[in-house]
């Protein structure tokens, strides 16, 4: 039995005005376990706290009940007081007789009665309290960044700058991501490569950063501070450390008809390739689905021309194990497929392109060396129609489009239209829009410049149909302001396709037990106050994997995620919340019910040896809760059919005792 001390607070007249505090402390004196009971004007004041400390010493108290304001207000205060008096801080219970009693009831008698009952419940609970010690776990001082786009690059650089080692895993042969494919960036029109490639070089040269390119994460185990990750390094058939990136192999490779994914299939590359000139790492990669040597053993030209002897046709996929303290997800986005939008004739005409393809067409390093030429016949287009919101804000049919606004299309379309009018002033440029959304610094000014200075024709309306006819594209559209239907003979149609999270994000979320929304964007721990953390401890979000974002927003979120990671890695040990679930292994029958309801993947199963009454041993499968991962929701305690699972601080017998005390 505990020796409980009860302290009833007046809170000035806040409590004492509606509750007879003397009656409460007198009534609670007779409760089982209570050896001391008193009341005081302000329990949370220094004098009040000293009163508690003195009483602990004087009466040898092992438990404390404070009848005062909400535990959300002063539970931490009184726990510190208990700790200062030499008690375990978790031996304190609060009876909320202010917010939930004196402030909501006007009658002194009912208020006092209720306060006594609430006090009794707290006493009943504290009698069953056990001292709790928060668990500690070490922190592996290394971070993993999944995805090597601008989000991943910025996060990695910021973490590395703070002195912590970082690994970047990128599934493409080079880092750089979507930004490397862009031409200019809004609203300042800097060239994307000019601002991105120096950062890529920084990454390559930073001693704290390792790049695993052409690699994927294949397994993640563990928890915050202690993740065990398996990285699959796909065979690129080129020894990374020897290859100098001279490009002789690329030139000599006879297989040159492979669609170039970096230019979105608008030109071809060879079977051995370096995606673009400033690739990091600048190492060649052999595409096994195209290489004759790998397919049927006939060729081997690249290995003959390679002066460094870097080609290795026998290379195998390699698995690397590494430990990390924190994981940053930066898996980014892709434009959605245009296959289902028949009305825009994307699959019928080469001259209907997506905005990302348009970026490559205007990029000086792109398939046309920056000259705006139609993909079909290489002629320069005289009339260009841009269509916004293709697949965005579309809730009519889920497999076709996305319900959300893709956020970046308004601005890049304004940029494209402006660039065209700037370089080719004799071109007619139409932009069909539903709304032009330009929230952002200098964004609206940019859009207005496109209209006022560059003469882009913005039409409020939508394109209904694109029909290829001869070498023209017949565009049928509405102009809602002039209330008429337009028929435009266009040379090029550019679709601002909605963006969606990368396909690799969903399996990754499963591995991380990180939650996602219905659109497969990662969910943040709190939409406003914790926007870069996943609800899963130790997992952080950077860039468009969390939601559509432009570059400035991505970079600021990447920095924010990095600062959270640094904050975590700077700690030597993590102190957990002791109010976590634990399983009584003697009662556990290994049914997996708890594991299935756990939102954090905190429960695993172990085969344990048990001594039986007849002195034999038996191996049984039992649940084990990882206290560093468990957040203490208690879903498992209810799911457990045998009652083996219980929650520290809110144990079943404690809550039951509270129920009994209230219903007495």
């Amino acid at each position: 039995m505990q020796r409980v001390g009860v302290f009833v607070c007046w809170c000035g007249s806040n409590i004492a005005g509606t509750v007879d505090v003397q009656a409460v402390s007198d009534a609670l004196k007779n409760e089982p376990g209570v050896v001391f009971s008193t009341n005081y004007q302000y329990m949370c004041s220094q004098a009040g706290q000293d009163m508690i400390k003195d009483a602990v010493k004087e009466h040898n108290l092992t438990g404390i009940v404070v009848c005062s304001c909400s535990p959300r207000m002063h539970e931490a205060t009184f726990r510190k007081t208990a700790a200062a008096a030499g008690l375990n801080p978790y031996m304190v219970e609060i009876a909320n007789i202010r917010e939930q009693c004196s402030w909501v009831h006007k009658d002194i008698q009912t208020g006092t009665e209720k306060a006594i009952i609430l006090g009794k419940a707290a006493v009943a609970k504290v009698n069953l309290n056990t001292p709790l010690t928060p668990g500690e776990s070490p922190v592996t001082k290394r971070a993993l960044v999944i995805g090597g786009g601008i989000a991943g690059i910025q996060t990695a650089l910021d973490i590395a700058d703070a002195g912590f080692p970082v690994d970047i895993v990128e599934k493409k042969p080079t880092i750089g991501g979507k930004m490397a494919q862009l031409d200019k960036t809004f609203p300042t029109l800097d060239c994307a490569a000019c601002i991105l490639t120096p950062k890529m070089v920084d990454v390559a040269q930073n001693e704290n950063i390792r790049i695993f390119s052409y690699s994927e994460v294949s397994e993640i185990k563990g928890f915050v501070g202690n993740f065990d990750v398996t990285i699959k390094k796909n065979a690129r058939y080129v020894k990374e450390d020897i290859c100098t990136g001279c490009g002789a192999c690329v030139e000599k490779c006879p297989m040159k008809k492979v669609p170039n994914e970096f230019n979105l299939g608008m030109d071809n590359r060879s079977a051995i390739y370096i995606p673009f000139a400033q690739a990091v790492p600048k190492v060649a990669t052999i595409d096994p689905s195209a290489c004759n040597m790998l397919k049927n053993g006939k060729c081997g030209l690249c290995s003959k021309v390679c002066a460094a002897g870097a080609i290795d046709y026998t290379q195998k996929d390699e698995y690397i194990q590494e430990k990390y303290g924190a994981i940053v997800v930066a898996t980014g986005f892709n434009p959605i497929s245009m296959d289902k939008f028949d009305e825009f004739a994307y699959n019928q005409s080469k001259d209907v392109i997506t905005s990302l393809e348009f970026e490559r067409l205007t990029n000086a390093a792109g398939p046309t060396a920056g000259h705006l030429e139609r993909p079909s016949d290489g002629k320069s287009p005289k009339t260009i129609v841009f269509v916004q919101c293709v697949g965005s804000r579309c809730d009519a049919c889920a497999e076709k489009g996305k319900e959300y606004c893709s956020k970046i299309c308004c601005m890049y379309t304004a940029k494209h239209a402006m660039l065209v009018r700037d370089k080719y002033p004799d071109t007619d440029v139409y932009v069909f829009y539903i709304d032009v959304r330009t929230p952002g610094k200098n964004f609206d000014e940019f859009y207005r410049r496109a209209v006022e200075e560059y003469g882009v024709k913005y039409v409020k309306g939508m394109v209904g149909k694109v029909t290829p006819e001869g070498d023209k594209l017949k565009v049928q559209a509405s102009d809602l302001i002039e209330n008429k239907q337009l028929h435009i003979d266009a040379d090029l149609v550019v679709l601002a396709a909605a963006i969606e999270p990368d396909k690799s994000a969903r399996p990754l979320a499963t591995m991380l037990t990180a939650s996602m929304d219905t659109n497969d964007f990662f969910t943040e721990a709190h939409p406003k106050l914790r926007p870069v953390e996943s609800p899963t401890a130790g997992v952080f979000l950077s860039g468009a994997c969390q939601g559509p974002k432009d570059i400035p927003e991505t970079v600021s979120q990447a920095g924010a995620a990095a600062s959270k990671v640094i904050g975590l890695l700077a700690k030597d040990k993590l102190t957990g919340n002791p109010c976590v679930a634990h399983s009584n292994e003697l009662m556990c029958n290994g049914c997996s019910s708890c594991e299935r309801v756990c939102p954090y993947g905190a429960i695993t199963y172990e085969d344990k040896e048990f001594r039986m009454p007849d002195r034999t041993t038996k191996i049984r499968r039992v649940a084990v809760v990882n206290p560093a991962v468990c957040q203490g929701c208690g879903a498992c305690t209810v799911a457990c059919p045998s009652g083996a699972m219980d929650l520290n601080g809110f144990a079943s017998n404690q809550i039951m005792a509270e129920v009994d005390a209230i219903c007495k």
Binding site: C394, D395, A396, I434, G461, M462, G464, D479, L480, Q485
Partner: protein, 128 residues
């Protein structure tokens, strides 16, 4: 007739929720009978929503709509303007108290080039 009542009846009858419309105008962009119509598909949605229904009831646009359902197919929000046009058309025919087309009218339309299907569908469209 009370516009509020009529508005609700049209919405109920057609099963269309005009509030879902985001006013992109894709229905009118895609409409093949656009130039024939005084009021266009997007205006039907907007005018029914605001209760401005009398002009629609009197408009020839009701009978110019081809019922091709292109607007239903293309609408990104699933608003289905053609169903609303159909509902207004039925309301107009009901109000008139008689069919717009009777069996006696058929003779003047008959022509070697007119497909039989057109006559059948016209009957469906212009009579109760």
């Amino acid at each position: 007739m009370n516009n509020k009542y009529l508005r609700e009846e049209l919405i109920r009858e057609s099963g269309v929720n005009p509030k879902k419309c985001m006013k992109c105008g894709k229905c009118s962009a895609t409409c093949p009978a656009y130039d024939e119509m005084e009021y266009h598909p997007h205006q039907f949605v907007s005018m029914v929503e605001s209760g401005d229904i009398q002009p629609l009831l009197q408009s020839e646009s009701l009978y110019k709509c081809l019922s091709c359902f292109a607007c239903i197919e293309r609408c990104p929000r699933g608003v289905e303007p053609a169903k609303l046009v159909e509902a207004v058309r039925l309301a107009a025919i009901r109000k008139q108290g008689e069919n717009r087309m009777t069996a006696n009218d058929v003779a003047e339309f008959l022509d070697e080039d007119v497909p039989q299907q057109l006559i059948v569908s016209a009957f469906r469209k212009y009579s109760k």
